[in-house]
Structures are given as C-alpha cells and as structure tokens.
C-alpha cells in the first residue's frame, strides 16, 4: 500500500476510536436532556472531578486503578443525584434560561473549587499504555481501550433502556410526565435514577480520558464545547443522533487534521457544524 493511503487509513481508524469516546461523552448529556429536559452545562466539569478522583485515589492514596475507576464512576453518579435534587429540581418549572444559568453557575463553582483544592498544576496518573502496531500503522492503546469501553457502556445503556422496566419508564417519562403516577411511577425517582446514570456515564468518560490527558481545573473546557456540539449536531436529546454525530465529528477532526494541520481538523469540524445548523437547526435526527 502506498504510504499516503496507510496514513489516511490510520487517520480514519484513529477517527473511529475518537468517535467512540465522543459518543460516550454525548450520551450522558443527551440522556439528561432527553429525559429531564435540562442541559447540564457543568457536565464536562463533573468529568474533571471524576478525573481528579482517579488521580487522588490511585496516585495519592495508592488504591489500585480499577478501584479508583469504580470510585470515580460512583462519585460522579452521586454528584449527578445531588445536582438534580438541590440545583435542578427547584428550577424544574422555571424558564429554560434560568435552568441554563444555574447549571452554568455549577460549572464555575466546580472549576473554582477544583483550583482551590487541587491547584492549577497539571497532573498525570502516570499510566503509560503501549503503542499498538498494525502493519505499518500505529494506534494508541489507550484510545482503543477507551473506544471499546465506550462502546460497551453505550450498549449497556441501550439494553438497560430497552429491556428493563426502569429503562422503559425513563423513555416514557419525557412523553407524558403527568400520567406516570397512574403506572405506579414516582417521577422524581425516575429523574434521580436518570441523573445517577448520566453522572455515572460522565464518571466513566473521566476514567477513559484520564488515560490520555493531563488533569487540571480547566480541562472541562477542552471537551465540554465539543460535547455540546456533538449533541446539538445529532439533535439535542436524541441518543442515536448523538452517536452518529460523534463519529462524523471525529472523522472531520482526524482526517481533516491529516490532510491539513491538526488544528485545522477542528476548524473543519466546526465549519461543518455551522453549515448543518443553517440547513437543519434541529440537528441531524432532531424533531421539529
């Protein structure tokens, strides 16, 4: 194979691997919006807290990595519950802008709290996963792990939503909340469960990102905006749309970055996003 084609193939496969993690990032946010009709603006900052959890439990307190990962998922899930109960619930009937502002407030709160508590230094958990060689192509093993775990997480969420009674109630509640008590469903418990699930997904994303990126209080800014764009591109609240959009976005970044300079990959992805917004403001699979 000519060297150019090999590099292109490598870029495409790297895009696929990146798409997996973007899809996981989008899933939690879409789940929350689709069910509760609120956007967690502080979503990426919750991931940041999850990353610090891995760092402190593993590197400072010496927990094994798998236990640190479980702790991060559990902690961010609990944060999701707390966020819903004390921040979202009081403004559930308020204007959407107020809901955005309160979760935006939590974003700044978490960033400032992390700066105070952990300082501004970049931290790294110091786990070096090997490079993977396939013929003449090289892939990062941590990306492959992230892709596979993200895929498994998404399949798990899909099966949960499709097969279980609780999952069916989560899909039902956005369609007719007022009628849920007639089915014996306590709507607030469904919202708390969904928030725990959304937080758990953010925690899982934190475990995968911590393998590839340094941790600092503003890390949320490097993938928060792109997560929102993936969600909006797919149709906010539409989990299938978010999944498709994640892979499209990732290919723009990876293949676009291969043809031009890597920063141009992001520029192309954002231009594509803006173009789609003119054509379909509701997103690829969004309704109305």
């Amino acid at each position: 194979m000519p060297i150019f084609d090999i590099f292109l193939l490598e870029a495409i496969i790297n895009g696929l691997l990146l798409g997996g993690i973007l899809a996981l990032l989008a899933l939690g946010l879409n789940l929350i919006f689709g069910v509760i009709d609120v956007v967690w603006i502080c979503y990426a900052e919750m991931i940041m807290i999850g990353m610090y959890t891995v760092y402190y439990t593993h590197n400072v307190y010496g927990w094994p990595l798998w236990l640190a990962f479980i702790a991060a998922v559990a902690l961010v899930a609990v944060m999701g519950v707390i966020l819903h109960q004390f921040v979202i619930r009081p403004v559930l009937a308020a204007e959407p802008i107020n809901q955005l502002l309160v979760t935006g407030g939590v974003l700044f709160f978490l960033q400032a709290a992390a700066t105070l508590a952990f300082g501004v230094e970049f931290r790294n958990i110091g786990v070096q996963l090997p490079q993977l060689q396939l013929g003449e192509m090289y892939f990062s093993f941590s990306r492959l792990v992230a892709f596979l775990v993200a895929l498994a997480g998404m399949i798990g969420v899909y099966l949960f939503l499709k097969k279980t009674f609780l999952g069916t109630a989560i899909r039902a509640i956005s369609q007719d909340r007022a009628i849920m008590p007639l089915m014996g469903v306590n709507p607030n418990r469904i919202f708390l469960t969904t928030s725990a699930l959304g937080g758990g997904l953010a925690g899982l994303a934190a475990c995968l990102l911590v393998l590839q990126y340094d941790i600092h209080p503003a890390i949320g800014l490097s993938f928060g905006p792109i997560t929102f764009m993936v969600c909006v591109l797919g149709g906010l609240g539409n989990m299938v749309g978010g999944f498709i959009a994640a892979f499209i976005f990732a290919q723009f970044i990876s293949v676009g970055g291969f043809f031009l300079h890597s920063e141009w990959g992001y520029v192309l992805a954002f231009l594509f996003f803006i173009g789609v917004m003119f054509w379909r403001p509701q997103g690829i699979l969004g309704g109305k």
């Binding site: 009674f165 069916t168 089915m183």
Partner: protein, 234 residues
C-alpha cells in the same frame, strides 16, 4: 370495595365536586353519567389521588386512601384509564403495556398478563412493535385498557372510553367493558354516552355540576323523568 363519603374537591379556587358519596361493590360495574363539565373526570382523579380531596373520606377495601401518594394508589388494586387514553405515543404497544406492569408486584406476572391482554385484544398482538401514537382511536383505547389490566387491578377506573370514537368502534369498546364485567372485574366507568353505558353497568349515579343528583339501578335511571327529559330527549 370502594367507597367515597362526602368528598369535595377542586382546582385552586374552583370547586368541582360537592359532597359526593358513592359506593362500588366487588364484581359490580358502576356508571357515573352526566354532562360535560359535571366533574366526572375530577371524580376519577380524586380516587387516583392525582388531586387531593379537600374534604371527605376515600376507602378502598376498608383502607383509607387519604394519605396515600398518587404513585402508590395502584398498589391498592386501582388502575385508571385516563381521559384521552394518554398512551406514550413514541413507545411501542408492548412497551406501553410494560409500563402498566411497572409496580414491583406486577412485574413477576408480566408474561402471563400480557398473554391475557393479547387474548382479549388480538389486534394488540399484531401491533405490538408499532408506536402507540400510530394506532387508530379504537386501538389506542384497547391499548390503554390493556395497560391498566397489566397491573392486575381489582378495580378499573374508565374515563370516557367512547369519547372521540366512531360509532361502530364505540360499540366494540362497550363490548369490551361488558366482557370485562362478565369476567368478574370491578369497573367504575364515567361516560356521556348514557344509553350505551347503562346497558353494561348494573347501577349508576347521575353527576351534575359536581353533585350526585340521582342514583339507582340502570333500569331505574333509564326510567327516571329527569334522565329521559334532559339526556335521552324523550
């Protein structure tokens, strides 16, 4: 089985029910008839605790429903088919039925009960994968009744099952109600379609502007001058 004594209720400052007392015995089909806006839907919403009674007592098999939150009423054996059916339009027929079996006690019986619902409404089995929002009006009503049956209720509350349906479909819905009462279900049905509902119900109450005006067996109600004049146009 169910008894209401002196129940008053309303929305904010608007009072919809005044001192309503009624009783449904096990195995009976009882109708509440009356014009639009009489408070029939409010009555069922009070029984399901979707709104709280301002005054009066609600007893199900001797146990008070007074302090029971709405999502626990189903545990007392009461299933409510709401006005306008209120299916989950984007969920499949089967998922709608699954929602009816949400209470913990009902989940273990999911398989056997869904087979009973499919036996009662063969059309639902054919359409089980279809989104409920794409069903015809009559099919949606069947799905809504099936969803309520999934919890294995002792008492079924039906709110205007014939509303908005074509006459031939109305016939089949009342046929379903008749079959359910023959099978031993206890049913409290609210209807404007007086002639039809009094054919399937054993007893009835006439509700007007929030007050019970008349009560008696279906035959007595059909013979009463008040109903003949105001509702049957005789």
């Amino acid at each position: 089985m169910l008894s209401l004594a002196g129940v008053s209720a309303g929305y904010g400052t608007f009072q919809a029910l005044f001192d309503v007392s009624l009783e449904v015995k096990a195995g009976e089909t009882v109708a509440v008839i009356g014009p639009n806006g009489a408070g029939k839907t409010t009555l069922l919403r009070v029984i399901s605790k979707l709104i709280d009674a301002a005054k009066g007592e609600l007893l199900m098999e001797g146990r008070s429903l007074g302090q029971v939150p709405s999502h626990e009423v189903i545990d007392y054996g009461i299933a409510h088919v709401p006005e306008n059916r209120r299916l989950f339009p984007k969920l499949s027929v089967e998922d709608n039925l699954k929602m009816g079996a949400f209470p913990a006690a009902a989940r273990a019986h999911f398989r056997e009960r869904i087979e009973r619902v499919y036996a009662l409404f063969p059309r639902m089995r054919e359409r089980r994968k279809q989104a409920a929002g794409t069903l015809s009006g009559g099919e949606q009503q069947m799905c809504a009744i099936g969803r309520a049956l999934m919890s294995g209720p002792k008492l079924l509350l039906l709110d205007e099952p014939s509303a908005g349906l074509a006459p031939v479909v109305v016939q089949s819905i009342f046929e379903v109600v008749r079959r359910m009462s023959a099978e031993g279900y206890t049913v409290l049905i609210v209807e404007q379609n007086i002639r039809q509902v009094l054919k399937v119900a054993k007893r009835g109450y006439l509700l007007e502007t929030g007050r019970i005006k008349l009560s008696g067996t279906s035959a007595e109600l059909l013979e009463s001058d008040e109903i003949k004049k105001a509702y049957l146009g005789l």
